[in-house]
């Protein structure tokens, strides 16, 4: 674990610079933000209803009430425009998490500082923050955010939950926390996964089973697993075959092991000395 992985538990875990994201994630801060947004938006609607009901009783008469209604609506429309812009910025940032993390960090810090965001937009921001922290290698923080978000009702289910569970499994495996990895993998089983998710899940499952030494499970239903492996990118596919080969080694299946080692080496761009 490197320094960047340590969680700063001090209440002032914010960055010194005002424009940046908090240096470490604080669940309480996120909850405060969500409550603040809810109160702001709910308050505006409440205010509008109050004006409608009791507007004529205001000093200055109905003209003042109408003006108040217009003011409330202007604020409401402004909030919605901010929301639309924020959602668009987050969607754009999502596509460049891996390649341009500094820019994503800037976008996130700008969006998450805004007031009156819809719950779905703010949560979308935090889901993106998990992906960003993972890309930066800050696994403890990524896991911590994912765990917090998974305890809440997420908008647009089940997509964000799937992303978070995959992220949490990834971080747990990297930190040798097999118990959390197992829990996340079990939770994933109950969700409708897309093909990309199934490939990611297969890889994580293999890493988990290999990590705890369940070699027989690694090779269970290998034909199906190899079909999935055929759809993975070369790095993941090579690693997948390598882990399966290790399992075959441990189960004393030399022919299978040699074949899998050969595949792994070929996918990694090396001559497969064992196969030739």
């Amino acid at each position: 674990m490197n320094d960047s992985d340590r969680v700063d538990i001090s209440p002032a875990g914010r960055s010194a610079s005002r424009g940046a994201l908090p240096r470490v994630f604080e669940a309480s801060l996120m909850l405060r933000e969500l409550n603040r947004d809810a109160w702001l938006r709910g308050g505006l609607i409440g205010l509008l209803i109050l004006i409608v009901l009791f507007g004529s009783a205001l000093p200055g008469g109905e003209m003042v009430a109408v003006l108040l209604i217009v003011m409330v609506l202007v604020v409401w429309i402004r909030l919605n425009l901010t929301n639309s812009r924020s959602a668009y910025e987050l969607e754009t940032a999502r596509a460049m998490v891996a390649a341009r993390s500094a820019e994503v960090d800037r976008i996130l810090s700008r969006v998450l500082r805004r007031w009156g965001l819809q719950r779905s937009v703010r949560m979308m921001g935090y889901v993106l923050l998990v992906q960003l922290r993972m890309a930066e290698g800050k696994l403890v923080e990524a896991g911590s955010i994912a765990r917090t978000l998974l305890t809440m009702k997420l908008p647009g289910e089940p997509r964000p939950r799937i992303d978070l569970l995959l992220g949490l499994t990834e971080t747990s495996l990297a930190l040798d926390d097999h118990w959390t990895a197992w829990q996340s993998l079990a939770a994933l089983e109950t969700l409708p996964l897309r093909l990309d998710d199934r490939l990611h899940q297969a890889m994580l499952q293999m890493r988990y089973e290999s990590g705890i030494g369940r070699w027989d499970a690694c090779l269970f239903d290998l034909e199906r697993k190899m079909t999935l492996c055929g759809l993975m990118r070369w790095r993941e596919a090579s690693k997948f075959c390598e882990l399966a080969a290790e399992a075959a080694d441990n189960l004393n299946q030399p022919a299978l092991s040699q074949w899998l080692h050969g595949r792994s080496r070929l996918l990694a761009g090396h001559a497969e000395s064992e196969v030739a």
Partner: protein
């Protein structure tokens, strides 16, 4: 199986269009109506009520719109999954039925057409596939990922159809595009590194395909094993097609050297055997031949790597 004309007819029947103006103007219209009411009606209760109803209507419309966007996106993802898992006919049927739902969304629409092209190409309908690919290339800017990916597939179809001159021109365009994508002036990449390395490996594989089709076998074998492995492996399991083509080049060179020394011919056969084993370690010979019929001759002449798990690899 859809023909090129049928693909053209589909695209003409459901052309892409920008989102309905009326939908985009709705919030502005509501605001204008509200302001008119404020001026016309002095009763705060009625004005407030109308505004509230307007807000509710706006929320309903926006939610409906978001639902439609998600559905269209889901349709294009489903089509991509069907093609990735080899359910080509199902994918084509899916696109034919649901393309209409994506006409107002350029990305989803583009993806649906792209997947139709991919399915048609996999089924050997290269003319029809090229109609779809040409459409995508008109839709997206040359340096965007959809355009790069489409050009790669289109070149594959051109080569399969033996349009070698067009394929050469397209390969040159692809190369210059990929070079310009290495990094922008400010060092930022517009396409993720993983996609870019796949694209470069695909480019090398297409060049190899071109060399084999133009009978430049010797040029193929000028590079040593490691150089080819380094160039092609980033295609993942698809690099098996490249390895199969190298085996074909070596085997064909051996056959063309009837006047050469026996040792040289045997050497070519050994090289071909080595590459064929590599290809069939990654992919079953049947899958290789299905996608690249040129390879059939290699399968008859050489011994494939047996698979200890059986079935497809």
């Amino acid at each position: 199986m859809p023909s090129a004309d049928q693909v053209r007819a589909l695209l003409a029947r459901h052309p892409m269009r920008s989102p309905r103006r009326a939908m985009l103007m709705l919030p502005v219209a509501l605001l204008a109506l509200g302001l008119l009411l404020v001026i016309g009606i002095r009763q705060a209760e009625i004005v407030g009520l109308i505004f509230l109803l307007g807000l509710i209507a706006l929320v309903v419309v926006v939610r409906y719109r978001i639902k439609m966007l998600r559905l269209a996106d889901e349709h294009s993802i489903q089509a991509a999954e069907m093609v990735a898992t080899g359910r080509y006919l199902e994918a084509l049927e899916w696109v034919w039925r649901r393309l209409k739902s994506t006409v107002a969304l350029p990305l989803s629409y583009g993806r649906m057409v792209f997947e139709a092209g991919r399915a048609l190409q996999a089924l050997g309908q290269h003319e029809a596939a090229m109609v779809a690919f040409d459409f995508i290339l008109r839709l997206f800017e040359r340096r965007t990922w959809p355009a790069v990916r489409t050009r790669i597939l289109r070149i594959g179809s051109l080569l399969a159809h033996e349009y070698l001159s067009d394929a050469d021109d397209e390969l040159n365009i692809l190369r210059s595009t990929l070079e310009s994508l290495k990094a922008d002036e400010d060092g930022k990449q517009t396409i993720p590194e993983t996609e870019l390395e796949w694209a470069w490996a695909s480019y090398e594989c297409l060049r190899l395909n071109q060399q084999v089709r133009t009978l430049h076998y010797r040029d193929v074998l000028k590079l040593d094993d490691q150089a080819w492995l380094t160039r092609l492996h980033k295609m993942g399991h698809e690099s098996a097609f490249g390895y199969g083509l190298i085996a074909l080049a070596a085997l064909s060179l051996g056959k063309h050297q009837e006047d050469s020394a026996e040792a040289e011919i045997t050497d070519c056969r050994t090289i071909a055997q080595r590459w064929w084993k590599r290809a069939t370690t990654l992919m079953a010979p049947e899958s290789l031949m299905e996608r690249e019929p040129l390879i059939a001759g290699v399968h008859e002449a050489l011994e494939a790597q047996p698979s200890p798990i059986g079935g497809d690899r």
